[in-house]
C-alpha cells in the first residue's frame, strides 16, 4: 500500500508534475522542524502546543493524501489534551508514520515519479 496518494495529489495540483515535486520539497523541508516543535512541546508537557504542532503536520500530510500520517496527526491533535488519551502510543505512531513518509516524498521531490515506478521508467 502506498504511503501517499500520488494520483490524487497530482490531480489536485492540476497535473503539474513540477508543482508536485516542489510541494514534496516543501514537505521535506517543513516537516522536520514541525516534528521538533512537537517533540519539544511533548517533553515540556505542553500538550496544547503538541496538539497545534500535530495540526500543522496533518495539514502538510493532507496535501499528499498520506493516510497513515494524517490519521496519526489528527489523533494526536484531537487527543493530546484529553485525560484518557494514550499519549505514548499516539506519539510513537505519529513519529513512525512521518519517518516512513519523509523518504518517499524526498524521492518524489527528486524524480516526480509515482512511488511504485520502476527506476528509469517514464
Amino acid at each position: 500500500m502506498s504511503l501517499y496518494d500520488y494520483s490524487a495529489s497530482l490531480k489536485r495540483m492540476a497535473g503539474d508534475t513540477g508543482l508536485l515535486r516542489e510541494m514534496a520539497g516543501l514537505f521535506v523541508a517543513d516537516v522536520p522542524p514541525k516534528l521538533e516543535d512537537f517533540r519539544r512541546a511533548l517533553k515540556a508537557g505542553d500538550l496544547k502546543s503538541a496538539s497545534k504542532a500535530a495540526h500543522a503536520l496533518k495539514g502538510l500530510a493532507l496535501n499528499f493524501g498520506a493516510a497513515r500520517a494524517c490519521k496519526a496527526a489528527e489523533a494526536m491533535e484531537r487527543g493530546a489534551t484529553s485525560p484518557q488519551f494514550d499519549l505514548a502510543a499516539a506519539s510513537a505512531e505519529l513519529e513512525e508514520s512521518f519517518a516512513e513518509l519523509l523518504p518517499a516524498l524526498r524521492k518524489l521531490a527528486g524524480d516526480g515519479l509515482p512511488p511504485d515506478a520502476e527506476a528509469g521508467a517514464a
Binding site: 490531480k11 489536485r12 495540483m13 492540476a14 503539474d16 508543482l19 510541494m23 516543501l26 514537505f27 517543513d30 497545534k52 495540526h55 500543522a56 496533518k58 495539514g59 502538510l60 493532507l62 496535501n63 493524501g65 489528527e74
Partner: protein, 131 residues
C-alpha cells in the same frame, strides 16, 4: 491550463500559516488566470485586505495568535472597503466547523485538502465581486 472564462482576473488572497499550502493554492490560482497573493498570518492578511482589497479571501481557520474566525470577524467589521467573499478551509468538515465558519462571517466552507477542482468551484460560486 484552461483559463477560467467566467471570472478572469480576480484578486484572491490565500491565508494559511502552512506556507506550502498557501504556496500551492497561489500557484494554482495563477494558472487559472487570477491575481493571487499569500499571507502566512492573520494580521498580515488583514493588512493586505485593507490595502489590496481582494475579491476573495481563502483562509485557513486553525492559525496561531489570530485564528481564521477572528480574521473573518475583523474583515467584516472593516468599513471603507469593498467586502470580499470569504471562504474558510479547515482540516475537518464537521457540521460544527461549517456552522462556526459561517457565524464568524465566512460565506462558504471547504474541507482540506483543497485542490484545483475546489478552487474552480469557489470561483464559480463566488466569482462575482460583491457590490
Amino acid at each position: 491550463m484552461t483559463q477560467n472564462q467566467s471570472s478572469p482576473g480576480l484578486r484572491i488572497l490565500v491565508v494559511d500559516d502552512n506556507r506550502s499550502a498557501s504556496f500551492m493554492l497561489c500557484v494554482l490560482l495563477k494558472k487559472l488566470g487570477h491575481d493571487a497573493r499569500e499571507a502566512n498570518a492573520a494580521r498580515a492578511a488583514l493588512a493586505t485586505v485593507e490595502s489590496w482589497q481582494p475579491d476573495l479571501v481563502i483562509s485557513d481557520v486553525g492559525m496561531p495568535i489570530m485564528s481564521g474566525h477572528d480574521l473573518a470577524r475583523e474583515i467584516r467589521s472593516l468599513s471603507g472597503i469593498r467586502q470580499p467573499h470569504l471562504v474558510a478551509v479547515t482540516g475537518s468538515g464537521e457540521e460544527e466547523d461549517v456552522r462556526d465558519a459561517l457565524a464568524a462571517g465566512f460565506d462558504r466552507h471547504f474541507t482540506k485538502p483543497v485542490g484545483l477542482e475546489h478552487l474552480q468551484a469557489m470561483v464559480a460560486e463566488l466569482g462575482s465581486p460583491k457590490t
